[in-house]
Symmetry: none
Subunit: 221 residues, 4 copies
């Protein structure tokens, strides 16, 4: 993963830390101004080092974009397992995973928009790498769904289609944030829009199980 981008500097620890600076600066700027309107010097200044140095850790301006988008997608991917830690009930896991996912997107805000907006500018290999990462993230949601199906709580024709339904509605919170924040809140959005995406697929037993879970959550407070 690291080697898909070339660095001339040897020390891998240094490479990692420099690239972290680089990527943080890049994400901030790409969000603010977009990829093309951000100059390499902008990135260098924001990252706190000289323009020339960038080319010791990256082959290309495009590589910076790739590292930035990769960082964003990886962050998304890491948060879900963290949130699922300790949760065992399949339906509870699905709910938890979705909520975690939505809240990462909300926090990362326009980074999501960034992946939609600027992916076009990547070389094909990098595009593919990102799509693969996204698939892996989605696979975690799909796994939760399949567990629910195995438990008899859910029924659906195509798991991945349902996954995508959830994913895009979640993404939409970031993509259409300019309008949605005027008419609702994140919590309401999750409840009304995101969760509704899969509730139509609940089996009768699933529904009963859900009621039980909510009652438990209620009394647990």
């Amino acid at each position: 993963m690291l080697d898909s981008v070339k660095a001339t500097v040897e020390d891998p620890a240094l490479v990692r830390s420099r690239r972290a600076q680089l990527v943080a600066a890049a994400i901030a700027l790409f969000n603010r101004q977009g990829f093309f309107s951000t100059t390499v010097k902008d990135i260098a200044r924001e990252a706190g080092f000289s323009a020339g140095l960038i080319y010791q850790y990256v082959g290309d301006k495009q590589d910076v974009l790739f590292l930035a988008l990769q960082k964003i997608v990886e962050t998304n991917k890491e948060r879900i397992p963290a949130a699922l830690e300790g949760v065992t009930d399949p339906l509870a896991r699905l709910v938890t995973a979705i909520e975690a996912y939505c809240r990462v997107l909300d926090a990362n805000g326009d980074a999501v928009l960034l992946t939609y907006r600027e992916s076009k500018s990547l070389k094909q290999a990098h595009k593919d790498a990102l799509k693969q990462l996204e698939r892996e993230t989605n696979a975690m949601l799909s796994a939760c769904i399949e567990d629910c199906i195995a438990s008899g709580w859910l029924r659906t024709e195509k798991v991945e289609l349902l996954t995508y339904h959830i994913v895009v509605v979640a993404h939409a919170w970031a993509l259409k944030h300019w309008r949605l924040r005027e008419i609702t809140t994140l919590d309401e959005y999750i409840r009304l829009n995101v969760h509704s995406a899969w509730q139509a697929c609940l089996t009768p037993q699933g529904k009963r199980h859900q009621v039980r879970l909510q009652a438990g959550a209620q009394s647990a407070r």
Copy 2:
């Protein structure tokens, strides 16, 4: 609408036709290469005239982007009323509007992606104009929903939120086309993902009415 972009040529018919050429060329290229990687000369060549001529019909390269995005959004907006022509039953109207909308997006394909990707590069006034157009398109779906509510077929807390749910799932077909086309078809996507967005809101009467409608459609074939 026309005057938000300045032309030095007087004849409005000529302005219209030249701009149509321009916009067609621009949409094709922006889809292929993105806004920033497309040069003004590229556009001129694709449109079939000289580079200088562009500036008789447009003040700016950005203006071309605006005209292109505007064209896309307007096309979306025009197809819905056309499809609704002659349909009177509120629920049938909702279904028809949604299907029409999805099929325009499918046809215009990556143009939708374009609006997400490149809107950033517009001047604020142009961004606002596009958002207004989008709101107007959405309002047509909202109106269908409200008719269904008035008829007692649907119930929902926030009409516009439901509208956005539908809209983003529809857009997702274009945004995630690279993956979705591998796992489903447009028809299935509409049935499983788009329509499911509102069916959770059907009232019992609504459900019965829907069954009746589908039976009618069946026998009409």
Copy 3:
């Protein structure tokens, strides 16, 4: 003179009138914006006809500049004989010629500046033509001076040098107008600066004659 600039239109009366329009427009614009910052379209618009038409009366944008500068210099040249009409006394003729010259320059204002500023942009033949015209104008002043010398009123080593002295001090009124108008008036400037240029050359008889003339002018009022 006319033929140093080519016209495709035959009718000489038309050529004259069109060119007059052209030149008037050009002088106004060149004064305001300079030669290079004035576009051919600007000139056409100011003159009240289409851009293409200019090329029927002129070969070049440079030709317009030449016609404009020529017009200015010719105007200067024509006013002096007009003012001298009926004046016979040599010293009175000199005074009259200088005053006339200064007042034309004051009226034509920045046109003078124009000849200094933009002559550089002319083709050599046109530069020469203008210098010749300027020499002819100066020759009229020189003639007055020589008459005064012949009458014994003036004495100077080099007539043309004295002429130039007068000319440049007169031009300075236009060239340094931005500052001079803050510290004096045209009348005072003529009295203190322009006329002083030659009064050092008056012979004793010349001085006496001058006193007589002024007394005459006084009593004539």
Copy 4:
């Protein structure tokens, strides 16, 4: 003074030396071809570096013009005090200052013409800065004149008007050089035209003092 033009390079010594190259190249070219007919690439080539580099030392092509004109006017301004070094007699100082001024103008030749020709193209702030510099130069001549008045050698109604008289006659040597060099020499021009500008203002004592000075100069040889 330096900061009225922006540079992205930090090192002030480098800025100074690069700008000196730039200005030297620019003055040569502007004299030869005028400001508008000189391209930025021309300047770069003449200065001996790449086109892009110019924009590290200057914001604009116009800024180059400003620096060039500023350099010219400043040179004029610096030579006068240098020439006055050690001269104490007020009348001698006036004569010395004028001669120094004329000889700078003669050496800088067409640079003077440049200030008349191209000032138009400057932004207002830069125009004002140059006018201020010119005023300061003139003030040095005015001071000499006032000393002479205080000593009783000269009498004049308006000191600054007399200063301008001297200045423009001196400038004329550069402006009308194409003709004047045909009919006279610099020395004769200074004697007959420039100095005559103020000799009419000599008081009787002033005249006597002048004779004494010249006698002294004579015997000193």
